[in-house]
Symmetry: C2
Subunit: 308 residues, 2 copies
Amino acid sequence: MLPSWKDSPTRTAIVDFVQRVTAEGSPDHLPPEARIAVFDNDGTLWCEQPFPIQTGFLFGKLAEQVKADPLLGAKQPWKAVVENDHAWLGNAITKHYGGDDSDLKVMAAGLLSAYAGERVEDFAAKAEAFLRNSENPVLKRPNLKTAYAPMRELLRYLADNGFTSYIVSGGGRDFIRPIARELYGVPPERVVGTSVELEYREDAEGRPGLYHTPKLEVFDDGPTKVARIWSRIGARPVFAAGNANGDLPMLKATTWDAPASLALVVHHDDGEREPAYTAGAEKLLQAANENGWAVASVKNDWTTVFVD
Amino acid sequence: MLPSWKDSPTRTAIVDFVQRVTAEGSPDHLPPEARIAVFDNDGTLWCEQPFPIQTGFLFGKLAEQVKADPLLGAKQPWKAVVENDHAWLGNAITKHYGGDDSDLKVMAAGLLSAYAGERVEDFAAKAEAFLRNSENPVLKRPNLKTAYAPMRELLRYLADNGFTSYIVSGGGRDFIRPIARELYGVPPERVVGTSVELEYREDAEGRPGLYHTPKLEVFDDGPTKVARIWSRIGARPVFAAGNANGDLPMLKATTWDAPASLALVVHHDDGEREPAYTAGAEKLLQAANENGWAVASVKNDWTTVFVD
């Protein structure tokens, strides 16, 4: 079990936790229905560098829209996408952190409009096709092969020990679902994530359908992850894994005053086998340090990062 | 199996459907992960007459609030509740159907404020205590014993045949969850329903918590049920049961162009063993008739309605 994990204190913390909550007679024993685990996705289960996989999916659609309607190319965010203007895109985010949301709102509105009007089944088919046929531009490997082998093993190890795992992602719920079962062993009903409002309509023949709208329903990050876990699961998890500041409330709410719990932080400190970064993870790494949470160092705890 | 169902065409339709989708080699065979069933709750799984059980829970809280702050009793909807003014309450709904939402909004705001500020765990404990200790004012039986025996048998029969059942209720998700496993065999993560927005806060010691707000998040009725099924399950059900017009889109979306599916409508036509009514179910009963959906007549299809 866990063959891609080095025999390190982090691996020991995971195995000890699982044994504590599963061993009959253990004071921390939990019945299977209480063995609930939650995982962030981007940067925790699969690589999010140089940008989240979904970004490629959305930008590709914006580029297609400009081909069909060249006038769109004069307008943001289509302009930045077709001109490969990373500065504008990066600035939109930098300005947001400085308190100026104007460009970020323009970008979000463009991205939200990309698949508006699609039936949910058609969106799922397009997301799946993209995921199966695209690659990571830095790692030069298929996007589905940028899932972290040690984390896939961890999901399986937990399942083998009676845990039920959920993905709780800041990324799009309907983007991840089509491949979550195959990639992670997590069925669609256990994928929680960012979503757009869906509109119910019956067409001229009366055929009912659900269609994506350009309106954000939930941005599933930060404290919202905690609210969504309750709303979707109705129980408190005992295991939570994340890699960014937006996962901090989820890890805190999972472990607070809960001796039979474990928080795991993936720390991207390798730089050889994948990009290294701490930007956007500073507060989480600090909390991990202060609370003694388990930290999975990509460099030191994982013998293998990706498998082909 | 299904001992509280008479040997009638409706029972036959249910059993035939289950055999068609489970028998190996059947052209309509479905793998277990596709055997998804959705059930409305009020009026489908338990009695909703003379008013939904949750109404008693909320009105009781409003009456308590007036005891603590008598001035509230001069204000609607507290006034109508403490004066037992059914006319005002009924009129609010009648006016709503006539296009005038003014009183309904006043009532909804009062009801939504009833448990605002409660931690989700405290709300769950209060809901559970109410459900275990209250009774139906007409049937004079404990509210938990107003669950329909034939429907509980149906839930078990489906589970025994590899189905996964969800409750998709216009009533409150967090109100039903505490007893759904015991009463229906449905765990909290498979209860979908109306919800208020939840607020994440950390108290002075840093303890994280989720609190009810007085803001409606989702009113889970009508087309919204279809959107919520997708959002929560990520798949199309093959069985749907309901009893009111608000269930019509759910039953239609389940069965449209789907030979391996079944819609079941509970028809409250008995009048001796429970109140009889068709108000609010006219369109659903008409659609059942037009589409040949299965109709469970309380009078003619159920040998037993309630068990003690």
